[in-house]
Amino acid sequence: MSADVSVTITDLKLALPAGGDRPYAVDGVSLDLIAGKILCVVGESGSGKSMCAHALMGLLPDNVIAEGGEISFDGQNLLTLDETSWRGLRGRHIAMVFQEPMTALNPLMRIGDQIAEMFEAHRLLTPKERKQQALSLLREVGLPDPAASMRAYPHQLSGGQRQRAMIAMALALEPAVLVADEPTTALDVTTQAQILKLIRELQRRRNMAVMFITHDFGVVADIADSVVVLQHGKVVEQGPAEDVLSRPQHPYTRALLAAVPTMQPPQRATLLNRRKAVEVIGLDKTYVSGGGWFQPERCVQAANKVSFNVLQGETLGLVGESGSGKSSVARLVMRLIEPDQGTVRLGDIDFTAIEGKALRQERRRIQMIFQDPFASLNPRRKVGNIITDGPIAHGVAPMIARQRATDLLGLVGLNASAMERYPHEFSGGQRQRIGIARALALEPEVLVADEAVSALDVSVQAQVLNLLEDLKARLGLSMLFITHDLRVAAQICDRIAVMQRGALVELKPTAALFSTPEHPYTRELLAAVPGRISSSKAA
């Protein structure tokens, strides 16, 4: 057993600079990476999981100091290595795959050259052999037409293809250890499934030890051999994947697992004889970019004859991969962008026909919750102002608006003292609650939530979803819920519409969509959701 251990981390302590929210980023973490096995390091944001990966690669930020412990690889302690020894080690023995393949690749270098550079940096092979090696690596990671991909620049490849190229680079020197830091987080579900399969295959074929950092228990269930759960830089649970996932011991692990939305849609009351809150008829939107004297215009159809209704009191989910046009539809419905064609009706008015003052007046009836809780609040305005700005613009007296904002903060689970504070003093989940309070301040009939929980950790995600569900029922709201995550959609939506390349391909009640998907694309999406095996086991 011990012969197979590639890397042993013992009692690793990484000190954060003074004045942080805790003294240690990583506090007493011990783990073994075993050849031919995948170890998943799981935790929420800020749990120190990425710091572990960076320590293993010798890429710690200058202000983070390894205060204690040992990372032993091949008989040496990596924490005491100097930069020269690190250069010999990195890439050759320990390689890394990053989260965002677009920023991790050099945009001005052809893919083939970037892979060949790996050999060059370690002074291996002749230029010709490097080319050949690069080609065979690209073939191994399953890039279509490897010869053409060699000559391609990163921006000419899709996200999934770029990640494959990154993996090819990481594998170039046949490292014994692969560190993958959230390698599939930036990818669509179907692409994610392919990349996970690829990593699994390659790791088996080459008998590598893999340290896989992720926040997604679905991904863990799909690929992990063993699991380490981190909370606030401390290991709370560790063991074989099977045990941790099906018999979690620590309450934190249990809470995390319970917060993972399952694919089983809960029973929902049928909505009969409701009036239509939003009626979308034949929306068309085409983005035209580029175009000039020397190049043709590039047209992207974001919405192609999209029609649906949202009934009063209903939650309609709009799901699809990135680029499917779901966010464009949300913005069309909100009239943040103008449709080329089509109508949006809010109750009895034609929302697409009004302009100027009338439009500003009617905007009150449909409000939006945004994706990024860090970008959706003006950093220079107090929370109280952020919430009351809308009502005051619609003629509510400031005193009454403030009173109501205080009530709303209570409603979304925040303290009234939040009124006088600035957005940066709040966590992501709290900010999203402020965003919800801002939307509710105008007493809308319809809420449009654009990936409202995608940027949040699972446990916070579950809380915000519950809050939305509760508010919707209490205030009799209708909701258009846009998400890429079918698991989330299953939890909250009455009906789900699936979008592909700007067109609605299927619209069904949630339970029916999950049990009898008709369109091949819907089936593909459902099949790609990570962790399906374990959730069906649990059911």
Partner: protein, 279 residues
Amino acid sequence: MKRVSRMLSRNPGGLIGFVILLIAVAVAVFGPLLFPASPWRMVQRPFLPPFTLAGLPLGTDALGRDVLAGIVYGARVSLLVGLVSTLAALAVGIPVGALAGYFGGRIGDALMRFTEFFQTVPSFALAIVLVAVLQPSIVSIVIAIAIVSWPPVARLVRGEVLSLRSREYVQAAIVTGQTSTWIIWREILPNALSPVIVLASLMVATAILLESSLSFLGLGDPNLMSWGYMVGAGRTVIRQAWWITVFPGIAILVSVLALNLIGEGLNDALNPRLNKDGR
């Protein structure tokens, strides 16, 4: 204010600049108390070298006027012109840039072509023509400097507004039914201001240089003693009486340097990419 003081404590260059500027402002404000007589008045024989008479430490010029008094009164003109013309340039540049960035499309194109029209004309030549046409006076100098220095402000603000316009909090303001004016004033401009403040501090320096250059060419306000005028008037006798040109020259150099140091310091303090702990 808290950030400015923190910036100063961290950045010695900025602190030095700030101290020099404070001294210059104090001299400009309290100068007339120390030198109640007009700086144009003859006080001694011409070409009196510096450090010879206790009452006239910097000597006298070709007409026997006190060089030190000239510098003290010149500070008033330089700082006033620098400040007022920068404010005027901001008053033109910020609205033009904000409107062009926010509305884009044809309005944006029209405003930016208008801006480019001013940028294509060499700024100093345009300033000379403007002052010559308007008759040299402090008002026409301020106007001329403002007219040649607003285009960079407009371009900078437009760029900032363009990137801020697509932020989610701006979209949230649109969705809650705010007017465009309100959104520009309350949501966008406050977040676009940091680079503008930095640019403005450097613009004050440029304006002081421009005013000096105009005065040097004899296009200054004939009723006001300024550093540029002193350098210009003394240049013909620079071999015999170096002090007439050197001391006002040093005054220009030091005040422009101080403003550049402040601009640099502000840039470090306000630029979020350099300033790691955010706001």
